[in-house]
């Protein structure tokens, strides 16, 4: 399976760069998931499909109104924020006290519904947004940096930092962190944990919607696109530590690197298997992840 014998240092560097670029996107996707998981202990199996909705929102705003994807970010954020809160309020909140099986299955149901609604409304066709403001590549010697990917990565970092500041510096943000750490104590201190749940679900969805907007600048847009991203996000959240924002950020980058380098040194066909292996190994050896408690 070891495919290369001579590796040029430039090739390796290129792979590392590619890995980082994917990794930053993964980070943003995973941060939303870990927030939801940390606050209300529910795995959002529809997370990848929220990404898909973000991507399609960006696509249609571009196709119908000529809005460049970068400018549709705030719209994606708001749309998915509302969608997330509604899904929490009318669906998820009702199973929180139900049996574990129902909690597991309900977000699968939402996932299947969303992805097939997309098929129904927009057909299963693959779509692409043609390059607009951002296009082309930067070249540093032998290393090629795709501009859309780089902008998306920077955007992802900025968004993550914004979230981080929101959580640490604002009153609402701190309430969210408090609920995440110790739900009962938060309740006792007068925090309305139901409202926090709803807010967190909304923010989690909004974040991955923004990731979708960034991703749509260079990735194929189609109804089933969320599936794999959603599954990879689980590994990232586990590696980073359930509920840890910083952890998800770092783990996202790591997984991006492992996936790219793993595919480079071993068979590219196995790269996703390697990502899933990460989940299993993390959960067996260090269940609290890198930065979790």
């Amino acid at each position: 399976m070891l495919a290369r014998i001579e590796i040029m240092p430039e090739q390796l560097l290129q792979q590392i760069v590619n890995g980082l670029l994917i990794g930053f996107m993964y980070s943003l996707i995973a941060i939303g998931l870990t927030l939801i998981w940390g606050v209300m202990n529910i795995v959002n199996f529809a997370h990848g499909d929220f990404l898909m909705v973000g991507m399609f929102t960006s696509f249609w705003l571009f196709s119908l109104y000529g809005l460049d994807p970068l400018f549709s970010i705030p719209i994606c954020f708001l749309l998915l924020f509302v969608m997330g809160m509604l899904i929490y309020r009318f669906i998820v909140s009702k199973v929180m006290k139900g049996p574990m099986l129902a909690q597991l299955v309900v977000t699968f149901g939402v996932s299947i519904f969303l992805s097939n609604l997309a098929v129904y409304l927009w057909t299963p066709d693959f779509r692409l947004i043609p390059p607009t403001i951002l296009q082309g590549t930067w070249e540093f010697g032998e290393i090629i940096l795709s501009i859309p990917k780089t902008v998306a990565s920077v955007g992802s970092i900025i968004t993550s930092v914004c979230l981080f500041l929101f959580l640490k510096k604002t009153k609402t943000g701190k309430a969210i962190l408090a609920t995440e750490m110790d739900r009962e104590s938060a309740l006792l201190m007068g925090i309305n944990t139901e409202r926090i749940n709803s807010l967190s679900f909304g923010i989690g969805a909004a974040l991955v919607g923004v990731a979708g907007a960034f991703l749509s600048t260079y990735y194929y847009i189609y109804p089933q696109v969320g599936g794999l991203f959603g599954l990879i996000a689980f590994s990232i959240v586990a590696l980073g530590g359930f509920g840890s924002i910083e952890g998800a950020f770092i783990a996202g980058i790591l997984v991006g690197l492992v996936q790219t380098l793993g595919g480079f040194f071993f068979d590219p066909a196995y790269k996703y298997a390697i990502v899933f292996m990460i989940y299993l190994i993390t959960i067996w050896i260090r269940p609290q992840g890198l930065l979790g408690w």
Binding site: V43, P99, L101, L231, A269, P287
Partner: protein
């Protein structure tokens, strides 16, 4: 149990009365998914290990018997047993390190495991990787587990397999094992404090579940005569198994059977009428139903029936 007897009789004479192929195919699928649901139920509904990766065992069963047939001309009935054993061993190997995992963590581990298996088989040249295995054509006979002219023998074989699974499940449910599984489902602490070796019983649950799922896999291979990772190891299959078990009632012997009897015909019929244009309407309704059921009736049909039964008492 006169209802049960009546149903049994109807099932036995069904192929003699209904001769169109489509209903027969649906019934065979119902039996197969019912068996997969019963197998899932043993580890999920009873012992609380909610696996979303049963397709891996289904596929391992299908591949083991098919590969043995293709490469070594091993009779499919022996292949059936071999497939079960291999699946059980793999189940033990993955189940052991996961002994402490519960709820969401276990669910995701099962998905991770099943996807790893699928990716591996998709690239494993020994079993033709993504191309899959076309089963060699044998003369039609029961010993060869192959029938070319009619699907009726498959109907009876699958029904017999389902009955076997039900007997196993019934035995589990009404024995010491069943009580211990249910204790484990509640919490590991409760089980341990009553003297239950949690690791051992969890392994038993997973291995039995895997063996039965693999049997269904071998049946599928002998029925369809072609398998590939995309048709026997798909996540969608695993999810379907969980859904129909929940719909019928997880934690009861007959629950998955009811769930399969309701869900599979609907899924097949809508797929043919609505789905073949690729509009996704059938799956849309499906997703909607799952969501509604999780929220409003997570105990499934069996839960409704039990409540009615209790009120009558």
């Amino acid at each position: 149990m006169t209802v049960g007897l009546a149903v049994m009789v109807m099932l036995l004479i069904f192929p003699l009365v209904v001769t169109q192929i489509f209903p027969l195919q649906i019934m065979i699928l119902v039996f197969m998914y019912a068996m997969l649901g019963v197998a899932w139920n043993i580890m999920g509904g009873y012992a609380g290990m909610f696996s979303f990766g049963q397709a891996a065992f289904f596929g391992i069963g299908a591949y083991t018997s098919s590969y043995l047939l293709m490469a070594f001309h091993v009779n499919p009935w022996f292949g059936l047993i071999a497939g079960g054993v291999v699946a059980a061993l793999v189940a033990a190997a993955i189940g052991y390190p996961c002994s402490n995992l519960r709820g969401h963590y276990f669910a995701i581990a099962s998905i991770a495991f099943a996807e790893i298996v699928r990716v591996y088989f998709n690239n494993w040249t020994l079993v033709n990787a993504a191309e899959g295995i076309s089963l060699p054509m044998l003369d039609e006979s029961f010993t060869n587990f192959m029938f070319h002219n009619s699907k009726v023998p498959y109907y009876y074989i699958m029904l017999a397999f389902l009955l076997l699974a039900l007997v196993v499940c019934h035995f589990v449910a009404t024995s010491k094992m069943g009580y211990y599984f249910r204790a484990i489902k509640e919490s590991h602490d409760v089980a341990e404090v009553l003297g239950v070796n949690v690791v051992r019983y969890r392994l038993i649950a997973i291995m039995v579940s895997a063996f039965l799922s693999a049997m269904a896999g071998t049946f599928y291979a002998q029925y369809v005569l072609y398998i590939d990772p995309e048709s026997v190891m798909l996540l969608a299959i695993s999810i379907q198994i969980v859904l129909l078990s929940m719909l019928g009632g997880a934690g009861s012997v007959m629950g998955p059977v009811i769930g399969a009897a309701v869900l599979i015909p609907i899924a097949e019929v809508t797929r043919v009428w609505l789905g073949h244009q690729g509009t996704g309407v059938d799956m849309l309704i499906y997703g909607f139903l799952i969501t509604i059921i999780s929220v409003y009736q997570p105990q499934g049909v069996w839960g409704i029936l039990s409540r009615i039964g209790n009120r009558i008492k």
